[in-house]
Amino acid sequence: MAVYRRESRRRPILVMVIITSLALISLDTGGNGIISSVRHSARDLIAPVQGVVDDAFHPIENVFDGVSKYDQVRDENARLQARINELEKDLNAERALGQQVTELERLLDLPNIEDATGVVARVIGSSAGNFERTLTLNKGTDKGIIVGMPIVVGDGLVGKITDASKTRSTVTLIDSPDVGVGVRTEKTGTQAITLGRYGDNLLKLGFLSNPRADISEGELVFTAGVDGAAYPADLPVGHVVKIDRNRGELDPDIYVEPVVDFDNLVFVKALRWPPHTETTEGK
């Protein structure tokens, strides 16, 4: 009898939990505002405690990084030094071309990156889960950050704001499968969209405007910035590292390595894009 009562009490609890979970998943997938509010409240509530814990454990994190990433850092340093030498050769030629483009854009009254103001924020964490490519910033809607803002650093494009509470915001990185960026190649101007993949920091170029274009390894890729685009034009995204031209396939498989090192970001800038975009700062 006792066993029967126990068994019969267990199942309703389990069924209730399953139904509630499925309901929440459906509501959140459909974009329910109440669930977003609950999320934002939880993040804002725990933010001060997270800050204290992060500061307290920072030395441990540094030791862990030093031990686990030494070889990686050394190889990356050598690769970057070689890349710097290569890029310095191209810089002078690019400067002259850049001046002409700026003059043309001014004439056509196109918004460009210099027109875009923004909010500088500090990166205070990365994803708490195993299957996301996100960063957490220490500013939110109370400092003018809104969903959709592109995020940049000096090297190039980082990602975009995909969630923002009052004091915290979430950046989804461009190598996440959830983010696609409209880009163009440096030499041929071929337009494409970047596709991120789980477990791979390389971006794949899809939907090429000209599959037969002569794209070469090492070529830089910039944001295309076409009309109504989510990102301003001419932001560096990455450079081509691998091209597979399979026989019988219309589009070659082109892989781009991002210029930004997403694992070592400290400060980023959230751009007000397009430049006339109103924000909720101070509201």
Binding site: R10, L14, V17, I25, G125, A128, G129, E132, G199
Partner: protein
């Protein structure tokens, strides 16, 4: 009083999961602290408690993830319930029970999470990379179970009367 201790477990593990462990990745994986705590609760107090704690703990960590709210809640609740159902047949005196349960539960919970998230729309997750991450995270869970199980044991208080 026990509910207050459970609340403390959930809050402290959420803070550690979001503030500390993202910077302590091993081969790209972080442990699932709330999942390990759910396994511990299921082991200590049975299936109902395991399911409810898993639901609450999963919801708490879902607030800090980009995946749909409820994915972790469902995965953790199912694992907590499963551990609770089988706990009567488990050895209680073995000191290895924590890492063994933490590892196996972490593996099952991680796989469940991937399947549920894929069904909720993130079908890009079904890859070899995800399988590798789930395995590494499960090993990480097994190691941390040695610390989390005693913490949960304290939170459960005098649970001997509740044992079957």
């Amino acid at each position: 009083m026990r509910w207050l201790r459970y609340f403390l477990v959930v809050v402290s593990l959420v803070v550690l999961q979001t503030a500390l462990f993202p910077d302590l990745r091993v081969f790209g994986a972080v442990p699932d602290l709330l999942l390990v705590a759910t396994i511990a609760v299921g082991y200590e107090r049975g299936p109902e408690a395991g399911a409810v704690f898993g639901f609450v703990g999963g919801l708490a960590i879902d607030c800090f993830l980009s995946s749909p709210l409820g994915v972790s809640a469902l995965a953790f609740a199912l694992v907590g319930y499963g551990v609770g159902v089988f706990q009567s047949g488990l050895l209680r005196s073995s000191r290895w029970i924590a890492p063994v349960l933490g590892g196996i539960g972490g593996l099952v919970g991680g796989a469940l999470w991937v399947v549920i998230a894929a069904l909720a729309g993130q079908d890009d997750l079904i890859t070899g990379y995800s399988a590798r991450i789930v395995v590494v995270a499960a090993i990480y869970d097994a190691l941390l179970a040695l610390l989390i199980f005693p913490f949960v044991h304290w939170a459960c208080g005098n649970h001997d009367l509740a044992r079957r």
